[in-house]
Symmetry: C5
Subunit: 263 residues, 5 copies
């Protein structure tokens, strides 16, 4: 069996073979990966072959092992009900992940206007990649689960039908939330770009104002610094006249820039 | 019952269970949230379970309590008509919200060219998030209401059919307006980016022009400021010659930049 | 009747009720709005209720009033034909508007490379909003007119069918043109952004080149301007040696920037 | 008949009326326009009414006029075959145009990194408008040709069916290529933007480095240029001490910027 | 037969004609091209006509030639099975290519924040073009393979059906991976743009800070450098007073910029 297959459902005369993917947060690399769960379901048996440990499945079986009552409850209603429990618990595990992403997005929305620098670009990029990976895992699942809803009657009692609607519903909700998260993160990215553009604009306004004010004044001063016979050479009144003219220029230019809204 | 479920309609033999979401403006946080309204409709009863107070529903029941006539009118036509009234009033409540968003967008359209600075980025971002949240609330509703239209016959007289078309119509109108608002806010964002780019361009033109004009002149002045035997040392005519040359250079460069359209 | 309803067609036993929207250019505000036209069509009457004066409809009735022949021709073929005339004339009125938008887009395409400054951002933004509003008006119409084509048989002779195909065709053409206009205006916006980026780049290259050339030279000059015992103090040859070294540096740097393509 | 109609196929009892559009490169304006070809096909005649000269159609008829054999071959198989020949030849004419666009795109891909300046923005914009216009011409055709495939049996022998599949196939191929070209040109535009951003970044790094290094040194020099009693006034050793300190500062700052990767 | 045809499947009475495209990495130009494989499949023969050497096909036939057993195994199950082997092996060849693209994307994700300069723009652009070309090759294939699944029964035993599901599955997986890769590369491009914007912002902050601090100080120094009777002329205390004032200004401005977060 190849290492990573697409989620699918194959019907064989005596059993169903189901491949499902679930998002798993790999703490070491800090990214979301897809964990594969292969399932064989026959009329009186169910075999789970996870590619890597899936916490919700392990927890379910753990409870069966330790708790007589839970086992009784799960196993008495046929393999269909057990399948439902496994799949449902596994998808329920997505919601805390989605809440985390939602919280990160809300945090970012506030941080953008505070101006935390390049870090925020990295944070937005990471959340975006997380959402992309999450979507990659969930997307092919939707058609599989709809197929499952259609084929589920075989090993299930009719009254369980409503439970499976529940799973399809959960996956659609996950998908809707991811769609929305994607819109939000893209909007945040655009806003962040606008904020930076605005800051560049602000900084340039200051730089330009100061340069335009100070450079000409410095030029005039250096004009009188020339070692030629400058007008008013060695004259103390000349210093105050020139300084006065410069202050007048400065006031004029500052007023001008204030009016244009640059300062 | 889990805290927030997807809008849906479940048919049970004796009653209908409907979950609907409505946008509610949370004044404290300043954002749109989804309020959930759960409804059980049987042949002769209707139970409303709002997740949080929904003004239009509360107002409707308030009127029933205080006004005999209104109660008579609402309760005499069966639960179908009452359901229609509740849903219709709740969606009608969306239109003032949409009008508010529309007004904000029109205001922004004018403000962009006035140049209100970083605030406008924040305002555009807020309206965008509002529209995204509004869409998130309305989107899953559309299929539910179409389902409702199909299943509504059970507790309704046929002549009420036209009323339900009205609700579907209202939701479709809300959706169309949101689609349009989204297009508008994205266009505004793009325009704002262009406006900032243009301003950066304008400021840089001024900065460059002044620097390119003044810096070389200052250099020449500081050349004659060197404490070596400069040509025309201590000579008063020399000052005027150098100043004249500088004025000629200045006029030349200003003319050049005018022609290139930089000043 | 609420002030602004979605375009729709409602069939009643004795008459059809049709709501259509048409784009109207409001000269005062300078934007496209949607004008509503409500129509009641019975087997032998047609009632038009425009929300605001619609020129093509008014013009049609004006001609009926003044010209016996036109009235004869319009009224003799049943209400179906009259409906066709009203709707067709109203949509025909869209084409001059579209041509205007097309002309504006062509004008903008040329203007972008001329560099008319911030005005062009405003012009692009205005055309874009116009296209968005036009699309908003036409979009919901398409399904209504297809419905109309299906229900039209009631008060129409079969031979008129081909006329109604014509209207659907016209609306689809309008929609296609708007789709195309939208693509064009978005492409123009992107191009304009690129043009500005390029100009910023050009200006910065000039600014950087001049600064990098003149600033070090000024520094050297001011070094010899220090009131300490500079080498070659008071020496006339020193001036020419320093000036010579500076010219050599200038030539070297200009050559370097030419090679890097900055000047 | 109105000047420019949508591509369509109208079936009349005695003939088919077909409108098709073909892209024509207008050399004078340098843009792609749509040429219209109207066709009436009866059981034993075919009338072509091109809006403007269409080279492939003209060439086909030219060959019929001059070459007995070609005429025989074309006319002997019924009007269906002739229709097929006209349409097929006309669409075949699109492929050289597409190849030209493809070549331009490949050329642009190389040019972007060479940095040809504003010209490249203009070139990308032109290709994009060309692709948009091409798509505008081809898009409505696809459904018409599928209709044509369905209605073609009337004046055609069954064995010709495979030929018409060929035309549908050709148009789908043209459409696929245009879709791909659109993706490519948008990717090029984005890349070009990134390249410019990077260059702006590079230039600013140089400008900033030089300014930050030279400005403080110039300040120190001008400090000693003040006509007050500076320390080491008139002292030759002072010059070398100050110069030494400046060189140390310069080396320190250059090292610092090297480490930060700015120079 | 024209040089490059769209992937398709044509059914003839006695054989099937299939055109498939496979991505081939052309090492010389460094880009992905589409290699065409034409297949004629009759009840007891299969003819492969590759446009250019296709490694997986060649390798398959090579193994047949050298290994009796393999030949036996491949040829004994009918042409359907052989077709399946050829197509399956050819598509399997795509996965190492996809893994390479995936690795490049992961590498780029890390490189963006390191700041490798313009090279990274080129790398992102190249991967994007590769993904676009890959998609261009695979896209039309999907419908062909679904057609193939429908028509395959003719020369195949029923038990082979499950194998063909496998191919369709593989192509869908390739397509899903390409969709995801496209999302990832676009996200990387956006992130890279943001990173550059942030760097420009950072650099400008430094440039502005230094200019705004040093330029006014230089101006003051040059004011006292004027050859007029400056206050405190020749006075040693004056130097220290002025320097003291300047240090006070410097400290004040640095504190101010620190607070605004510019330094």
């Amino acid at each position: 069996m190849s290492r990573n297959q697409r989620p699918k459902i194959d019907e064989y005369p005596e059993y169903l073979f189901i491949i499902l993917h679930f998002p798993i947060f790999d703490k070491q690399v800090g990214r979301l990966n897809a964990g594969e769960l292969d399932l064989f379901i026959g009329p009186d048996y169910i075999i789970t072959l996870p590619n890597q440990p899936l916490k919700p499945v392990e927890y379910l079986f753990e409870r069966c092992r330790t708790n007589e009552e839970v086992r009784e409850q799960l196993f008495s209603k046929g393999t269909g009900y057990l399948l439902y429990q496994i799949v449902d618990q596994s998808f329920d595990y997505c919601f805390p992940m989605l809440r985390k992403i939602g919280n990160k997005l809300e945090q970012l929305e506030e941080d953008i206007f505070i101006g935390r620098g390049e870090e925020i670009v990295r944070d937005i990029s990471n959340v975006k990649q997380e959402i992309i990976n999450f979507r990659k895992t969930i997307r092919p699942q939707r058609s599989v689960l709809r197929d499952l809803e259609r084929t589920k009657q075989r090993y299930m009692r009719a009254e369980l039908e409503v439970y499976f609607d529940d799973i399809v519903d959960a996956v659609e909700r996950i998908w809707d939330m991811l769609e929305n998260d994607k819109e939000v993160v893209e909007a945040l990215e655009d806003t962040n770009e606008s904020v930076i553009s605005h800051r560049v604009n602000d900084i340039l306004r200051v730089l330009t104002s100061i340069s335009v004010i100070v450079l000409p004044l410095t030029f005039i001063a250096s004009l009188w610094g020339m070692n030629v016979g400058v007008p008013g050479e060695g004259d103390h009144t000349a210093f105050w006249i020139i300084t006065g003219v410069m202050i007048a220029m400065l006031v004029g230019m500052v007023t001008y820039f204030r009016r244009r809204g640059w300062l």
